[in-house]
Structures are given as structure tokens and as C-alpha cells.
Amino acid sequence: MDSAILLHRLHFAFTITFHYLFPQLTMGLALLIVILKTVALRKNDQLYHAAARFWGKIFAINFAMGVVTGIPMEFQFGTNWAGFSKAAGGVIGQTLAMEGVFSFFMESAFLGLFIFGEKRLSPRAHWASAFLVFLGSWLSGFFIIATDAWMQHPVGYSLASNGAIQLDNIWAVLLNPWAFWQYLHNMIASVVTASFVMMSLGAFYLLQGRSTQSGRIFVRTGVVAGCIASALMIFPTGDRQGKNVATYQAVTLAAMEGLFESIEGAPIAILGQPDMEKMRLDNPLVVPKALSFLTYQRWEAEVKGLNAFPKAQWPDNIPLLYYSYHIMVGLGTIFIAIMAVSTLLLWTGRLYGARGWLWVTMLSLPFPYIATTAGWITAEVGRQPWLIYGLMRTDQGASMNVSAGNALFSLIGFMGMYTLLSVLFLFLVGHEIAHGPEAE
């Protein structure tokens, strides 16, 4: 691989991974804030109003980070991936422009109203501004997923005589079968992240013995929302997304599962390391026939292994793909366990006093972020070696006129800038947490 292309890939991978640490919280948190506001309105409970206000501040800091790191994403389509943008801009330009026009204006206008307008707005209007922030951010997520889904499974286009990919049917792009399940899977993942963050911070306040009433609200809201969301992650959204991969990217499924040879009654690997020299899974721990059943609902069905496909179509980093997929699924399973135990304790009224378990919930904070990031690495490394699946290879899409040296220059610049942003972000969030939800 040419070093300029590697650098353009690292450039996008680095900036998108950092960027998505923020929207994955804000999209889910927007929903939880609407729930807090709804309860506050119905019960006329000041503590819930305070909770919504507090999470509004956390939301605003994350939102600002999402915006400043999001602008470079749109720019990079043109700066680093000119070949791709030139060929496919007629299609993905639509969804990206829709995001700008329909979501960003709504989000930025009503977030301002939500944060600064509580005293001037009626309670119902304030609730409505929270709802519109939620709507805007979930619409934004949809347009981005529709863009990615088109790269994973292109539909609704035709090829012009000059090789440009032209839009043929906008509804096909928006109603892409890939987009539907990927969207739900992704948005529910965002609710999982937000629930864990809320639960974890609530546990922190309970363990500290301060702001305990708010802490209970956070834990309760986080556990209930997180329990539902964690279950929905696996079934039906994760299951259906997996079947999409099996249908449209069979070679990716084989690589994700570490299945080197085609086999009837394929086992599913729980642990093991792909060995690309010997073409096998080292130290495998498997459940017999499970992969066949999960994919085709028949224990004896044949699942195609990597050997069924020409090597030129294999994803170019199979170990990374395999590990990120297994990390995502493994953590997703653990989340269900954590949430199930927490729900049980909540149900029996013992959760707020169970200090040992509160420690577990508090320390679980980073794992949804890891799981979500691993999930996205699975999706995007799994798409390789294609930029647009089956249509354009990744090495054809980069900006040929931007040299490796220039790409490295800006990559280093972004690394420096994002280090600074991280420090400031952690500092500000820490400041709000130390301030507490019951201030003012």
C-alpha cells in the first residue's frame, strides 16, 4: 500500500474515531433528557428539572466538542478523498447536505433555547425545545448512517458516461435496507452509552454521599433505559445487522468470525487469535454449529469461509476486524449482565445501598465507548478493500494531488489539536461534575 493512501486512511480513522466519542453520548442523552423533562413536567418535580438542567450542561459541552470535531469530517471528503467525492458526491452530497439543512439548524437553534431559555419559556415550551434537540440529533444520525449505508451497500444510482456515479432514486438511498437496521443498532448503542454514563455518575454521587437524591434519579433512569437498550442491541438490531452482513458482505462475515474454511454446521468462535500465516484460528474456544444457526436458523447450514473468496476481496486487516467485532459482542453481552443485575437490585429496592455493586456500575463508564468504537471499526474495516462496496476500491478514492507529506502534516496537526481539546474537555466536564446537579 502506498504511504499517501495509508496516511489518508489514518487521517480519517483518527478524526472520525475522536469525533464519534461525543455524538454517541449526545444522541442518547438527548432522549434521556426528554424523559427527565417529561417526568419533571408530569410530577412537577423540581429535582427532575434540576437533573435535566445538569445533563443539559453536560450535553452542551459534548455537543460543542461534536461540532468542532465534526466540521473537519465534512471537509475531509473533499480534502483527503477527492477521488471519492468527485465520483460519488452526486449521491452522498445529498444526504450530507440534508444533515446540514434539516438537523444542524434545528439542533443549534433549539439547544440555545433549551440551555438559555428555561426562565423565559413556559415549562411546555422548554420541554418542546428539549424534544426538538432530540429530534434534530436523531435526524442527523440518520443522514450520516444513510451515507455510510450507501458506501456499505450502494443503491439508487447509475453510472454516467464519464464514470461519475449519479443519483437515480433518492428514496432508495434513504430507505436502503442496510440503513434501517444499522440506524437502529447505532442509535440504541448511543442510548446504551448515555444510560451507562448517567448510571455511573449517579453511582459516583451515591458513593460520595452527596447530591444523593439526584444520584438516585440518575441511577434509576440509567438502569431502566440501559436495561431495555442493552437487550435491544443484541436482538433484534444486532441480529438483523449481522444478517445484512451475511447477505451483502459474505466475505466480511467470514473474516469477522475468523472462519477460514467453508463448513456445514459452522461453529462460532468465542475466543482465539486469527493466524494469517497458517490461515487458522489459534487457541480457539468455540460453540459448535452456533454460527450456522445464528446466520441461517439451521444448525447444519453451510457458512462460507475465507477460502471461498478470492484474496483480492478479503478485508485488508482481518485480525483487527476479528478483534473489534469480538470486543463489541463480548462487551455487549457483559452490558446485558450488568443491567440485568442492576434492574433486579432496583426492583427489590436494594440498589442504592449496594455499595459493592455501585462501584461496579461506576467503573463501567468507559466500556460502552469502547464497544461502540469497536463496532464502528468492525463496520468500516469490514467494508475494506472497498470504499463503496463492490464499486470503488479504497485506493482509488484518495486525493492523488495531496502528497504523503502534506497528509502527515495535517494528521500531526489534528493530533496536537485533539490532545488540547481532550484536556479542556475533561477539565470542563470535571468542573460540572464537581459543581454537582443540585447547585443554584
Binding site: 466540521i71 477527492a82 437553534a109 479542556l424
Partner: protein, 347 residues
């Protein structure tokens, strides 16, 4: 259809410059017109609720450009790689300076972000002006419609050009003084007392330099890019745009003398919009001319997306933008046109 999209993109970009222009301008004069913390809070409060909404226009204009003219988007963004990356970093620094300044009350923390805010705002104004200068002058396009510009070469305007040459630097300076005046008028309108008095003074000084640089830049432009003069003669109705600019500029002075800040500010909006519209009309149908062989220049026909996409885009873009405009009318009304108190906790 291509022409219609050319106009829509131009309108979106002009809206961005007029709107974000006033908060960039407020940033430029921030250190000068506001000398202590109390005064600086006034300047920041004047742009507080608006600046990030204004920046959304950049994203919307960029997205629209991408959708309607994908080949232009890919060619220009990769060719202007280095300055665009720097613009991104400056936008980030400026955003965090505004947002984070108020969180700690310390004589080390606040002045630091004040300097970052002013420095980033000033550089952005110059960069945006220089970018416009590059688009008017043209770039060294090859037959595939690609180019890559270094930051500078020999500062000449022919042949192997760089981002910065004596022409683009002049346009950058014009943008700097124009936005200084624009921002000063906004701040004068939104504040009282010393800050208002100093802002009016800055606007008066800036006005003279705007006049001088406008004359100089116009002469240079007609000389370097003959297309502009030819187009204005071809479409005589288009002389309305330069006329709007001149009238607005005169209006700015008259209202400034009478201390009618809002009217002076609106005239400044008219001046900026008129100048940008003149430039757009002057280039049409080119969107990125060539600095070498004129036939290599990118036109709207060469860079536009397919006809179906352009038609579909129209169906949702116009209602979507009207909806967006609706939110902002609501927002501005709700927070009132009156002076706005600082929303963030300044503890």
C-alpha cells in the same frame, strides 16, 4: 438548473459571510475596544447566542456545494488542502476560546483566551479573503481539473501561483478591514458606554481603509481577471450589485456619523453581499478559473451533479432552508433584539 444552484450556493455563502462576519469582526476588535474583564464580557455577550448558529451556515453552504457541484468540491478542497486545514484549526481554537473563557476567573486564564480569540478571528478573516482572491484569480488546473497549491511561490499572479501573492493578500486585507468595520458596528449596536464609543471609533477608521482597499482591489481584479469586467458589460443588469455596494458604503458612513448603529450595520451587510454578488456574477459561468490556459477552468456545467440529483435537491433544499430561517427568526425574536446578558455562569 446549474445556474440556479450556482445562485443558491452563492446566497448560502454570502449569508455565511454576513452572519459569521460580524462575530469574526467582534473577535478582531475584542482586545482593542474592551480593555477590562467587564467590557470583554460585553463583547462576548453581544455574539454569545449567535456565533455557533452562524457557523452552521458554513456547514450548510459546504454541504450544498458538495451536493450540487461535487467535482468542484473535490478539486477545490484537495487543491486548497493546506489553508483549509489551517482554517479548521483556527475555527476550533476560536470556538474553544469563546466557550471556555468564562469558566475560570483568573488573570492567567481569561487574557490567554482573549488573545486566542482575537488572533484566530483576525487570521480567519484574512484567510477567507485570500481564499476569495484565489478563486477570482484562478489556480493552476491540469486537464483532469486537479491542482495543488503551495502556500506561496514567488508572490506573482501568473503561472505557478501560490495561495498567497500580492493580489490575494490585498483581498485578504480588504476582508480584514471590512469585517473589522462589520463587527465594530454590530458591537456598537449591542453595547453601551465605553465599548460602544470605542467600537464606533474603530468603525470610522476602518471605513476609510475599506474605501481605499475596495478601490485598489477592484482595479487589480479588473486587470488580473478580465472575465469580471467582460461579464459586467455583458450583463448590464448586474451592475446593480456594485451599485448596491457603493450605496451601502456611503450609507454606512452617513449612519455612522449619526450614531445610528443598526442602520450602519445593515448597510455594512449590504456592502458585503453586494461585493460577493459582484464577484460571483463576474466569474459566472466559471466557478474556479484557470491561472494558465483559460479553457481548463472549471465551469458550472463541468462540475455539476446529475440532473436528477439537482432536481431532487431543489425539492427539499428550499423548504428546508425556509424552515431553518424560521427557527432563527423565532430564536432572534425570543431573545429579543435588545441587549443580551451573558448566559453562561461566569463564576
Amino acid at each position: 438548473m446549474e445556474t440556479l444552484w450556482f445562485c443558491l450556493v452563492a446566497v448560502a455563502l454570502a449569508a455565511y459571510v454576513v452572519l459569521d462576519g460580524f462575530d469574526l469582526g467582534a473577535g478582531i476588535i475584542h482586545l482593542g475596544v474592551a480593555r477590562n474583564d467587564e467590557e470583554r464580557k460585553q463583547v462576548l455577550a453581544a455574539i454569545g447566542p449567535y456565533w455557533d448558529g452562524n457557523e452552521v451556515w458554513l456547514l450548510a453552504a459546504g454541504g450544498t456545494l458538495f451536493m450540487a457541484f461535487p467535482s468542484l468540491y473535490s478539486s477545490a478542497f484537495s487543491g486548497f488542502y493546506l489553508p483549509l486545514m489551517m482554517v479548521l484549526w483556527l475555527l476550533m481554537l476560536r470556538g474553544i476560546a469563546i466557550e471556555f473563557r468564562g469558566h475560570i476567573d483568573s488573570p492567567v486564564w481569561k487574557p490567554l483566551w482573549d488573545v486566542v480569540f482575537t488572533g484566530a478571528s483576525a487570521l480567519l478573516a484574512i484567510f477567507f479573503g485570500a481564499a476569495l482572491g484565489n478563486v477570482v484569480r484562478g489556480v493552476s488546473l491540469n486537464a483532469k481539473g486537479e491542482f495543488f497549491l503551495p502556500l506561496w511561490t514567488n508572490f506573482g499572479v501568473k503561472g505557478e501561483v501560490g495561495i498567497l501573492d500580492w493580489y490575494t493578500i490585498t483581498v485578504g486585507l480588504l476582508a480584514y478591514v471590512t469585517l473589522t468595520q462589520h463587527g465594530a458596528l454590530w458591537v456598537a449596536w449591542k453595547t453601551q458606554g465605553e465599548v460602544q464609543r470605542r467600537s464606533r471609533r474603530v468603525a470610522r477608521i476602518a471605513w476609510w481603509t475599506v474605501v481605499a482597499l475596495t478601490i485598489l482591489t477592484t482595479a487589480m481584479t479588473l486587470n488580473i481577471q478580465p472575465q469580471v469586467g467582460a461579464n459586467l458589460r455583458l450583463h448590464l443588469w448586474g451592475s446593480i450589485f456594485p451599485i448596491i455596494s457603493v450605496v451601502s458604503l456611503v450609507g454606512t458612513w452617513i449612519f455612522l456619523r449619526r450614531s445610528q448603529d443598526l442602520r450602519a450595520f445593515l448597510c455594512s451587510c449590504g456592502f458585503i453581499a453586494g461585493m460577493l454578488a459582484s464577484a460571483a456574477l463576474g466569474l459566472y459561468p466559471y466557478v474556479l478559473p484557470s491561472s494558465g490556459d483559460p479553457s481548463l477552468g472549471l465551469t458550472i456545467e463541468r462540475t455539476a451533479a446529475g440532473p436528477y440529483g439537482l432536481r431532487m435537491g431543489l425539492m427539499w433544499w428550499i423548504p428546508g432552508m425556509l424552515l431553518a430561517a424560521g427557527y432563527f427568526v423565532f430564536l432572534y425574536r425570543h431573545f429579543g433584539v435588545a441587549r443580551f446578558s451573558p448566559p453562561r455562569d461566569e463564576a
